[in-house]
Structure formats: C-alpha cells, structure tokens
C-alpha cells in the first residue's frame, strides 16, 4: 500500500513539474529573447514582463505543487527510489509534452538525448 502511495506521489511530481516546465517555457517564448529585450528596454522591463505573464505564474505554481508532492513522496518512500524515478520520468515526460504542447521538433537526436540523460540521472540519483 505504501508503494502505491509513493508511486502516486512520484507521478504527481512528474505531472506537476512537466506542466510547470511547459508553462515556463511557453511564458519565456512569449517574453522573447531576454538578452535582446534587456539591451533594448532594460532589466526592469524583462522582470516586469516575465512576472506579469500568466503562464509564468501558473508555471511557478505548478513547480510549487511539484515540490510539495516531492515532500509527500519522501515521507512515504525512500529518497533512493523517489529522487531518480521522479527526475528521469520528468525528462521523458517533458520530451513528450514539449512535442505535443510546445510543438518543438523532437527529432531522433533529442529522443536519444532525453533517454540517455534520463538513464544517467536515474543511475546518479539512485
């Protein structure tokens, strides 16, 4: 039963952090090239436009949800299971979500990269 709780919390972490990453990426695409905007309009403009972006605020909220899910997961399961499982599944989930929601061209090169990194993170964090 404890395993069910742990894996539900892990899935919640993965889901929330994928949602958060996608929203943050979308927000920053809307803000535009930060370097160029900074040179053109100053740092205040960059910060104002970022913080005023609804996608950014929802993204940060999703990240907070992911963090609290992590705390729940850690209270039910071992860190040696939760950390690598959540981190590597997030990489795979992000590749899928970026393709579907951000319309990024996730070619074979990026699939291989995401899988290698996910495997590597699982080994390192485990």
């Amino acid at each position: 039963m404890r395993a069910v709780y742990t894996w539900s919390a892990i899935l919640a972490i993965v889901f929330a952090s994928v949602v958060g990453d996608v929203l943050l990426a979308r927000a920053m695409k809307q803000v535009g090239d930060v370097g160029a905007l900074w040179r053109r309009a100053g740092l205040g403009m960059v910060i104002g436009r970022t913080l005023g972006n609804p996608n950014f605020l929802f993204g940060v909220t999703a990240m907070a949800v992911a963090f609290f899910s992590l705390l729940f997961a850690l209270s039910w399961g071992d860190v040696s299971l939760v950390a690598p499982a959540a981190a590597s599944l997030t990489f795979i989930g992000n590749a899928v979500a970026a393709k579907i929601f951000l319309h990024e061209r996730v070619d074979r090169r990026r699939w291989i990269a995401a899988s290698l990194v996910a495997a590597g993170v699982a080994l390192l964090a485990g």
């Binding site: 943050l24 990426a25 695409k29 930060v34 160029a36 990024e104 996730v106 990194v117 590597g120 390192l124």
Partner: protein, 157 residues
Amino acid sequence: MFAATGDSMLSHGMKQTGSISLNHLQGIILAVLNPWVAVGILFLLAFFGTYMTALSWADLTYVLPATSLGYVLLALVARFVLHEHVSPLRWLGIALITGGVGFIAGGPEITEHHPAHPTTAPNAEAAAAAVEACAVAAQAPLLTKDARNGAPSEVEL
C-alpha cells in the same frame, strides 16, 4: 557560439545550484536562519534567472538536458572537493548524461516557428539578422519606389 556561451552560463548556474542543494539541506536540518540558506536562496534565484533566460531563446527539450550537466558537476564536486566515493555505476550515469548532452549540443537549439519574427529568433546573431532583414524589407519598397520614380526620369533623359 551563443549556444556555447549559454551552456557555460547554465553550467555555471547549475554549479551554483549544486552547491546550494548541499548547503540547503544542511541549512534545513541545522537551522532555518542559517547564512548558508540565504546564500543558497540567492544561488537558487541566480539559477532560476539563467534557466529562464535560456528558455527565452532555446527549446525546452534543449535546455532541460543541458541543465542536467548540473548532476554531473555535483558528482564531480562530491568526488574532488568533498572526497566522497563515486561508484562505477555513478560514473556510468555521468557518462550517459554527458553523452546525451553532447547529442543535443550538436543540433539546433530551437524549433523555428516564425523564422522572420525577431522575438522568436534563437540567439542574438539570428535576432540581429532578422532585424536587419526586416530593415532591408522595410527599405525595399522605398528602394523600388525610388527605382520606379528614377527609372522613367532616366528614360526621359
């Protein structure tokens, strides 16, 4: 070149996060009002800022694997600064992450949706090129108008 700068910037940011996550845990365990925590939060903000900056001109599927170099740096710091033992399995993990990052680093960093739009340009060079292209495009009608105005007069002459 800008991608390489961005990557080094990211790895710098991740090096900072690497050190915080250690300090941070320590801070939470020892005391909440620990100076390490304040420094940690500053580093975390610095990382977040660089991460957002990278996301503004690169794909999520490009930035995310690149930030995972932070795990590698963390492991290297653990090995050489903290003198922890790094098992062969973890070295394999480091190799896999490095290989994966090398894979995407060789490819394009952004999917072009609107190539002529300056705000979606992948980097400063492309943005400048796009602005230049826009400027040329804006001047082009004027030029052709001039040419149109000029040509008949020359014909008349």
